[in-house]
């Protein structure tokens, strides 16, 4: 009886509270609250369920989950915007030189394309999200009064910070992905050569402690080194990751619970190169990986779970290419961002040497 009375009182309190509390305190879908996410920087983007947008904020040391409410559409139309950076800069009332497009992600629930943007290049740059619809019409995704949740990534502040002023240590989020109810975040410190993947359960909770996994790389069977992840994607319960030192490795998703993992090298992406972005898609009965690189163009690689499992880790000194084979696609040049638009098309950000960034839709090769 007492419990029932308490429940009734609790329900009454909650109802009364809902009448008097401002909107930002009210919980909504996926444990989110209404308000204004105070993004210090809009960096890597990824989409989760129901049009939930994840935004990596390196300067704020956090990942935000933001409900876009953008759940309808097909993404079947080709979207092309010449001078995307100039178009966005003009809307922001500044020059293209003062506008950085940090990442691009397609919302699979609507086919709209989202861009994380910095207005300005200094420490006070403003974080802005833009959206391109099927007609290529650009609109700002307004972050006022949205439903959002925040997961802090920063370690506890140094005990000495209080006496020595603000620490200069910071972490850059290099990529993030949503996988089976978890957000996986790759990052790199600006001091120690840290190599951590953080795994956040979604919906986020206030008390959440993200698990942090040291990532290593075994080279030629003798030496093992810490290896920050530059970009990654998941495929068949496997993380496919490109390390900053360029090998492409696999890490089973089920291993993202321990304290340390060592990726299995399945391909070497070559010297004078920097992997930038990747997508996985299916064409006919075959899966493929498409990988954009700084110097080696766009690579296409046949994928299968069986082939990944069967590939022996490259652990001998490399001459030429080894492991999984890939084809370099000459038709794509200067691609800096990639995402899958639909089952037939991908969108790319192509940057010219003069600095112009174009959005292009291409048929999946």
């Amino acid at each position: 009886m007492l419990r029932i009375q308490l429940r009734r009182k609790l329900a009454l309190c909650m109802w009364l509270t809902s009448l008097v509390l401002p909107g930002q305190l009210l919980a909504d879908h996926h444990g989110m609250h209404q308000g204004n996410p105070q993004l210090k920087q809009a960096g890597p983007l990824a989409f989760g369920p129901d049009g939930v947008l994840f935004v990596g904020d390196s300067m704020g040391g956090a990942v935000y989950a933001i409900e876009t409410g953008d759940n309808s559409g097909t993404g079947n139309a080709a979207v092309n915007v010449d001078g995307l950076n100039q178009q966005i800069a003009a809307k922001l009332g500044t020059s293209a030189e003062e506008t950085l497009i940090n990442d691009m992600a397609v919302n699979p629930a609507s086919g709209s394309i989202y861009f994380s943007v910095s207005r300005g290049r200094g420490p006070d740059a403003q974080a802005v999200i833009f959206k391109a619809d099927a007609k290529g019409e650009l609109t700002e995704f307004d972050l006022t009064d949205v439903h959002f949740a925040k997961a802090d990534l920063n370690d506890a502040p140094d005990a000495s910070q209080k006496y020595r002023g603000r620490s200069m240590r910071a972490s850059a989020i290099t990529d993030l992905q949503f996988v089976d109810g978890r957000v996986i975040v790759a990052g790199l410190s600006n001091e120690e050569f840290a190599s951590k993947l953080r795994v956040l359960e979604f919906p986020f909770s206030d008390q959440q402690q993200s698990s942090s996994i040291e990532v290593y790389h075994g080279a030629h069977g003798r030496l093992e080194t810490a290896s920050p992840v530059r970009t990654f994607i998941t495929y068949e319960n496997t993380v496919l990751a490109a390390y900053t030192c360029t090998p492409l490795v696999t890490i089973p998703v089920e291993d993202l619970t321990g304290q340390k993992i060592t990726g299995k090298t399945v391909a070497e992406l070559g010297n004078r190169n920097n992997p930038l972005d990747m997508i996985v898609y299916r064409k006919g009965e075959q899966d493929y990986l498409l990988l954009a690189n700084s110097a080696r163009g766009v690579m296409k690689m046949e994928l299968s779970k069986a082939a990944l499992d069967a590939t022996e880790s490259i652990n001998s000194r490399i001459r030429g290419t080894a492991g999984l084979g890939y084809e370099t696609l000459d038709q794509f040049e200067n691609v800096v961002q990639l995402d899958k638009l639909n089952d037939q098309h991908a969108v790319m950000l192509v940057q010219s040497s003069a600095g112009q960034v174009d959005l292009k839709t291409v048929a999946l090769p």
Partner: protein
Amino acid sequence: MTRLVAAPYAQRCCGVTCVWLAACCWLVSPVSWAQDADSLTRQLSSAVSLRLVTTAPEHFSLSGIEVTKSDEPLFAVTVDSALDVKTPAMLGTYERRKDSLRFYPRFPLSPRVTYHVRLSEKLKRKFPDHPELRFTLPKPPAPTPVVDGVYPSASELPENLLKFYVHFSQPMSRGEAYRRITLWRDDEPVEDPFLELGEELWNARQTRFTLFIHPGRIKRGLKPREDIGPALSAGNQFKLRIDAGWVSAAGEPLDQTYEKQFSVVSPDHEQPNPERWQLDTPDRATRQPVRLRFDEALDHAMLQRVLTVHWRDGPPVPGHVAVTDGESSWSFVPATDWAAGTYAIHIAANLEDLSGNSIARPFEVKMQQQVAASPSTNIAVEFVVR
């Protein structure tokens, strides 16, 4: 008071302009204009004027004209583009008043950007001799940035050096670091020596940039190093050059090109070992430093952060840290005089040397090697003040 979202009609307007014309319009504009501390005004007629108000909230105001409810705003503001692309109108909101129409930009106006106010077709007909309505906010004075220092500061560095820290006197602009920093060997540029990250590794104020040497060219057995060798090779002279074209966040270029010259010696694969360090202890009732002398240079940034002095098990003792002698010496001066007693210097085991070898583990671990400590472990060095 009605607020409208800016209509994009200006997208149809020609966006071809030039900055030169914009600059000259101040001098040759056929209409009268006035400038005071807070606003820039252009007269379209004796009664009608367009004003840019630069005090908060910044806005453009067209006044002296009857403003009726219309689907088309009477003007829109665009940014002049140096390229031949049609640019859309700036984001912002309109506020209709009795005899004026105001436009509040969504974002603060930027200095050095030329804003072009485009009149509606209706107003163009009414003011056929309308001038080029362009506004350029002057760049506020800003200090010239200089490179305050590059760490490691030593002139001899190991072949497997992992990173540089570049300190600036002013917050710098993001997005061009890897164009502005180059590595030279005997006056020949070294190809692709750095780990280039779109995110760039800055501190929060953007006064310190962390530059990693490409790990693929440090780690033994990886393709980049096997194919083209290490970025730094022992026995050679190198220069790290920071180009004077790099501008601060306020748009000011560096005072001059900065060069750090150094020679490269054998790689260092050994971990820092606190047992080889020397300790100088202070006297009671003084503010003498407690000093650690290392047998090698350690990471400049981490030395500022990961060593703390504690009295017994208490919180960190407030004070000031100094890193000297080419990052091979660390000292701490307390904020108040030392009291007699036993203290401890807590040292995080992830403290690295110049090659990324930490107290906890070497940069490259032999596969079967057991590492001594977890990177999260603290090491304590005790000392007594008498």
